[in-house]
Symmetry: C2
Subunit: 153 residues, 2 copies
DNA sequence: CTAAGTGCAAATGATTTGCAGGTAT
DNA sequence: ATACCTGCAAATCATTTGCACTTAG
């Protein structure tokens, strides 16, 4: 567990405690995974990885905990049509993504000029812009060559 | 029906005929609506507007026809998590949107610099980028004032 | 102790699909 | 004629929710 992950997990558990809600083992485990997963895991990725430690853990609990983390401002959901959402507990704010159409990998690109673009859009449309969604889709370097699809979450 | 809409409808019906599939009244009606609707209608918007002319029209037919139009390259789907998709038959290619969180209105902003941004992303990540999704969310000029929500599709 | 959380299974909402009868070509 | 369509209802898939039991504080 990297220093950054440890810090994220500390922030999450602190918010959880501060909220007055209960710090159950399941909640802490889900949040830890969110804090340390670089690969934008799905609900089922999380449930699967928690099986060893919590044999009976239910999807419902994972869903509920993720929603809780979102409502605490500690997780970010990337929803896709036609497939389950993916979650990010490392950067819990809107940011652009690049999604590999072959293996499902999702990475976070650097991108300046987005704030500028948002201001331009707001000025031209008259909307009060509060958030955005920006995804690029394509083939990652690995999938451009081999036809594999080792799903790295 | 504007000149642009007429042209889009002509393109759609031509593609349909060329595909060898049948030009049924339902299909032509759905495609006409797609061709002329500026407001990015939902499946149910379309079904509702077709009720008068086709009293028994089913959601299934609307869904199937939209998928057909998409596969012909003549309609573009904007999918949202937690609510139904919206469709665009006027510009059947990826383009940015601005979505009003209060009334659901969706408009198409002008935006240069997107191609440039895509190239930048591709170069930095090594991905072969094939498409993108860009939405801004906020309050439209009307909803910034009144709390109404006249859903203009 | 007791409000809150968990697992399970049933409910939901959008979309898809199987099937039996209808229609464009 | 006949392969393709349609409407209907049942099936899917991701996610949410009701409920009876369990547990953190």
């Amino acid at each position: 567990m990297s220093a950054a992950a440890r810090e994220r997990f500390a922030a999450m558990s602190a918010k959880l405690k501060a909220s007055g809600l209960k710090s159950t083992p399941q909640r802490l485990a889900v949040m830890k995974l969110l804090a340390e997963s670089k690969g934008h895991p799905s609900v089922d990725d999380i449930r699967a990885r928690l099986q060893k430690k919590f044999p009976g853990i239910s999807q419902a609990t994972v869903y509920r905990t993720i929603q809780l983390a979102k409502s605490l401002g500690e997780a970010y959901e990337i929803a896709f049509a036609g497939s389950g959402s993916r979650y990010d507990g490392r950067k819990p704010h809107p940011h652009p993504h690049i999604v590999c159409l072959a293996c499902g990998r999702i990475i976070d690109p650097e991108l300046r000029s987005l704030g500028e673009m948002t201001r331009e859009i707001a000025a031209a449309s008259g909307f009060a812009i509060t958030t955005f969604r920006l995804d690029f889709f394509g083939l990652c370097p690995a999938c451009r060559n081999n036809k594999n699809g080792s799903r790295k979450t």
